[in-house]
């Protein structure tokens, strides 16, 4: 079975000013697949992720070149509205960042409000919180503050918020690194459930997390893609010696 390619990246370069952060990366992510991106700090993995929904260019002095196709359409094409693109390609960050002044309910539907409210916000609210595996825990306090939630719950709230605008792709940048092991396990379980509907690209420093959650793993080093392959292969028998050194802990 060969799934359709959802994200097709070819010869992607990204810079911060003069710093060449991503160098000629080509990668394909199949529809409803999970790609994990691993590599040491500063290897360009987060920058790569941010190029996929054009968040990279929001940093002053940052630019990108190359091709990123989403369903065959170039996301860097002249007619593409980055704001609309980011609705299709949602993002979840390392630190849970709910809007503190809003209620749990308003956090989830915040993206929808910006885009004009849908017919039935209650339906969206329940659907997204259920998909984010948070509904049962918050359904009786939707008007409460998100700050009363635990870190893991806040992160799932952020995932629910990302899901509300009905994206096709979810980018996750270290989504569980600030969470305890139980909350991490819930996020990982959630990734398994979300891949039924979404294509996911996950950046993580936690190699076991990459091994547990992803179908494909890409290893970045010094801005280059060293190797990308089936996750099982990357962790049992990688082709490149630099990948081998990294997954066995022989770096630096």
């Amino acid at each position: 079975m060969t799934a359709a390619v959802k994200i097709d990246v070819a010869r992607l370069d990204a810079w911060f000013g003069r710093v060449h952060a991503v160098k000629g990366v080509s990668i394909q992510v199949p529809e409803r697949g999970v790609l994990a991106v691993i590599g040491p700090s500063g290897c360009g993995k987060s920058t790569f992720l941010r190029c996929l929904n054009r968040m990279h260019e929001l940093v002053p002095g940052a630019r990108a070149a190359g091709r990123v196709l989403l369903d065959g359409d170039d996301v860097y094409g002249g007619s593409v509205d980055p704001v609309l693109l980011r609705r299709r390609v949602g993002m979840v960050f390392q630190r849970p960042n709910p809007f503190p002044a809003m209620s749990i309910r308003d956090n989830v539907i915040a993206g929808l409000k910006l885009n004009g409210l849908p017919r039935d916000t209650d339906e969206v609210l329940e659907r997204c919180l259920t998909q984010a595996a948070l509904w049962d825990e918050v359904k009786d306090r939707l008007g409460g503050s998100p700050l009363a939630l635990s870190g893991g719950q806040q992160q799932r709230l952020c995932i629910a918020r990302a899901l509300a605008v009905e994206p096709e792709v979810l980018l996750m940048d270290e989504p569980a690194s600030a969470l305890d092991p139980i909350a991490t396990a819930r996020i990982e379980e959630l990734i398994h459930e979300l891949k039924e509907r979404y294509t996911i690209v996950l950046v993580t420093h936690n190699m076991q997390q990459a091994a547990r959650t992803s179908d494909l793993t890409a290893f970045f080093y010094l801005g280059e893609l060293v190797e990308c392959g089936p996750t099982e292969q990357i962790f049992t028998n990688p082709k490149e010696s630099r990948t081998e050194d990294y997954v066995t802990g022989k770096f630096g």
């Binding site: 076991q208 962790f235 049992t236 990688p238 081998e244 997954v247 066995t248 022989k250 770096f251």
Partner: protein, 228 residues
Amino acid sequence: MPSHTDKIYENELRELREKLLAMGAKVELAIASSVRALVERDTALARKVEEDDTEINREEVDIDDCCRRILALRQPAGSDLRFITTALKIVTDLERMGDLAVNIAERVVDLNAAPQLGSYADIVKLADLAQAQLKHALDAFVDGNPSAAQVVLKGDELVDAVYLKVFNELVGLMLEDSKNIRRATALMFVAKHLERLADHATNVAEMVIYMVKGTDVRHPHSRGLAEE
């Protein structure tokens, strides 16, 4: 080859390798002693092989513990993971080889209680081959050398051929005189144990190929997958 950033982990892996080699050396000695006990009619040596097996068994348990600890605490990946899974498998082969040396020694105790039946020349030849197979398999493991392991796999054919020759000779002795049957049967067991020893050496060699190359050559089916 770069070493692990975590030196304690590096040491744990090195210790595991050394333990396997030490156990392998004990098994080699047990096999050599069991055959020498036969050829030199040294019953005391045969009894020593039986006694010394407890040490080999203890080492098996120790190595298993080591592997489990590394799996639980280090979550090894890549070549480390293949090394640990290989260690877990070959330790079982080594322990079984120790048992086979004991089985030989048990037969030798019986055989030495009666006059020698015929020449032991071909049994000695079989024993030398089986020991060489184990030695080469362990060397291949130490050196991480898949071509040396491949030579062991090829070598098993000769072991089987010599075993068949010994088998036929012993059947001949049984047909000659029914009084030979008891001793010939005991020698047949010795020969069978030696042939099995060589099979375990082959298992070790197959795991060495997996450890180094990540390809599984144990069965025609897995070989086919590996070649795809």
